[in-house]
């Protein structure tokens, strides 16, 4: 009756993709401040553990580590570190999204089901959003004048409103 036992391990493709994307984010962090590599790498390991075993808390913790490492790097980095910082943040979120989606797939359809197409489409969409975010963010940065990024504050204000709308209804 082994075939009847439901195995909710997430599909490997999603987990692998998430780890790769998180590793890219780590590279971005390393590019700004090599000393933060340990924190970010720890984040990737935790995320990998969560993604392959199907544990949401680990996935979120791991991605959180990468994201915070990126933030700290941006905080201490120089002005020309904006692009890698942006990449680090965007790919950390994308990695979390891909891994969490995989965990959800594991719970819904299990590891035995065919999921490749769904995974590919989701990963492509979330990476597009990441790339779009990087593009828009960098454009805002370039448009903003040196240490007075007015456009960025305006964009953030809009973003905050959207957020508010998103989670209040």
């Amino acid at each position: 009756m082994t075939a009847d036992d439901f195995d909710d391990t997430p599909p490997r493709n999603s987990a692998t993709a998430a780890v790769v994307v998180a590793a890219v984010a780590t590279l971005a962090v390393v590019a700004i401040r090599p000393s933060l590599a340990v924190v970010a790498a720890l984040g990737v390991v935790v995320l990998a553990a969560g993604a392959f075993r199907g544990n949401r808390a680990l996935v979120t913790t791991g991605a959180g580590f990468v994201f915070v490492a990126d933030l700290v790097a941006a905080f201490s980095g120089l002005g020309n570190a904006v692009f890698p910082a942006l990449c680090g943040g965007a790919f950390a979120v994308a990695a979390w999204d891909i891994a969490e989606h995989g965990v959800g797939l594991g719970e819904h359809v299990g590891t035995d089901a065919r999921t490749r197409h769904g995974e590919t489409v989701h990963a492509a969409l979330t990476l597009s959003v990441a790339v779009l975010a990087i593009g828009v963010g960098y454009a805002i940065y370039l448009l903003g004048v040196d240490d007075r990024p007015i456009a960025a504050i305006v964009a953030l204000a809009v973003g905050a409103l959207v957020l508010f709308g998103a989670f209040s209804d």
Partner: protein, 420 residues
């Protein structure tokens, strides 16, 4: 159709506010820019519309009248009649009693408008009528922030009516009835087995005159044979909820009981006995004892597909007294009872002894599904043995069938024991 938020993007607000806080407190423009990422994902999650799945599903079952334990391939095709669905999860409604042996009855995919997705899995045929349930469909928007749950199905089904396999023999209790058959009686008459000789009386058939004796002594004598008669048997299957006991990863005792009932009935029908069928459970089914090809087919079909013998336990309440009365009322006065039960509680013992007390001799065929792994298993096994001993002392024949042995072997052994 149920729509709900998955709330999976709630944490993104924290990431965004954290970046903004860092940016404002320490005046770091790069951190502020990272906040844009959070804003972008939040916007994606918010502005994506909830999907409105419009799907149709069709199943192809490779064999809708399989034999027992055959492997059936089920091919499920889902067609998207509506808009693009970026994230679609489908769980097929496999019938309860059926086991998936290969593949997965589930699929996750993205489906464009007008496209089809197909998945295949294999199931093992079990006895009975089985209709596929609706497949559960969960459609999410691209960001996965909203999911819509719905059901879609068709009326695919299959029916598995196992053939009845006869045993080499099944001994019935001695009885007296008025039909020619195979039960030996202590009355003499026309038969096969020698019984006695008596003085010739006018009208005795010439073929039964003992000619050797005539040649030897000159006296005319007539040979009498043991008269053989057909039995009337009601096969009763224990289908109460408590009879659905099973060893781990094995069929339930009811399934074994049904198999035993089929074998016993086939054997007895082959030898010209009249066989009826009853279920002792919440859903009482009755097939009056009869014989012939049609009856055999009816018997086979009833045993395979009647709700009373469903492979999954019944929900309805069971009333032992009224069920006993209903069975007793229908039993022909000369009928004996063959009961297939795991003997896993005392209720069935009371039932059998009452049937016996009403003049119907009882034979029990009891599949032994008890285990020996835990203390509880051993207790159940010991109590079952006690029940068997009690029944035997009360004059009820019990065939204690270890389910890993062919029933024919067990019956043959029991038969030798009864003859000795």
């Amino acid at each position: 159709m149920i729509q709900q938020d998955t709330n999976r993007w709630v944490g993104i607000s924290m990431a965004t506010f954290l970046s903004v806080a860092v940016a404002l407190v320490f005046t770091v423009p790069a951190a502020l820019i990272i906040g844009v990422v959070g804003g972008a994902y939040a916007g994606w999650a918010h502005f994506d519309r909830a999907p409105d799945p419009d799907l149709s599903l069709s199943r192809t079952v490779s064999d809708d009248t399989p034999r027992l334990d055959d492997t059936i391939t089920v091919t499920v095709t889902v067609r998207n009649d509506g808009e693009f669905l970026p994230d679609l999860r489908i769980v097929d409604g496999v019938p309860d009693a059926v086991e998936v042996v290969d593949g997965s009855p589930r699929l996750a995919t993205a489906l464009r408008s007008g496209k089809e997705a197909t998945f295949t899995y294999e199931i093992e045929a079990v006895r009975g009528d089985h209709t596929f349930g609706d497949a559960t469909v969960v459609a999410r928007d691209a960001a996965g922030s909203v999911e819509v749950k719905s059901e879609v199905g068709d009326d695919a089904s299959f029916r598995c009516v196992p053939t009845l396999t006869a045993l080499p023999s099944f001994p019935l209790r001695a009885q007296s009835a008025r039909r020619v058959g195979r039960l030996s009686t202590d009355e003499s008459g026309a038969g096969v087995e020698f019984h006695a000789t008596r003085e010739y009386r006018t009208g005795d058939p010439l073929s039964r005159v003992d000619w050797k004796r005539f040649a030897r002594t000159g006296d005319l004598a007539t040979v009498e044979f043991r008269e053989e008669r057909a039995g009337t048997v009601a096969v009763v299957v224990d289908t109460r909820e408590s009879a659905y006991v099973a060893r781990p990863d094995d069929d339930s005792a009811v399934e074994y009981g049904v198999r035993a009932a089929g074998s016993v009935a086939a054997t007895l029908l082959d030898t010209g006995d009249r066989v009826g069928l009853a279920s002792y459970g919440p859903d009482m089914t009755w097939l009056a004892p009869s014989l012939g090809r049609d009856h055999r087919q009816r018997f086979r079909r009833t045993l395979a597909t009647d709700d009373a013998f469903d492979p999954t336990p019944p929900d309805a309440r069971f009333f032992s007294e009224s069920t006993f009365q209903r069975i007793l009322k229908r039993l022909p006065s000369d009928a004996q009872v063959v009961c297939c039960t795991p003997l896993c509680d005392d209720g069935i013992v009371r039932f059998l002894r009452r049937i016996d007390a009403h003049g119907h001799s009882v034979t029990v065929v009891s599949p032994d599904v008890t285990g020996a792994a835990s203390t509880g298993d051993q207790l159940a096994r010991a109590r079952r043995r006690t029940r068997i001993r009690g029944l035997r002392q009360a004059g009820v024949r019990v065939v204690d069938w270890p389910i890993d042995e062919p029933l024919a072997a067990t019956v043959a052994r029991a038969e030798r024991g009864w003859r000795a």
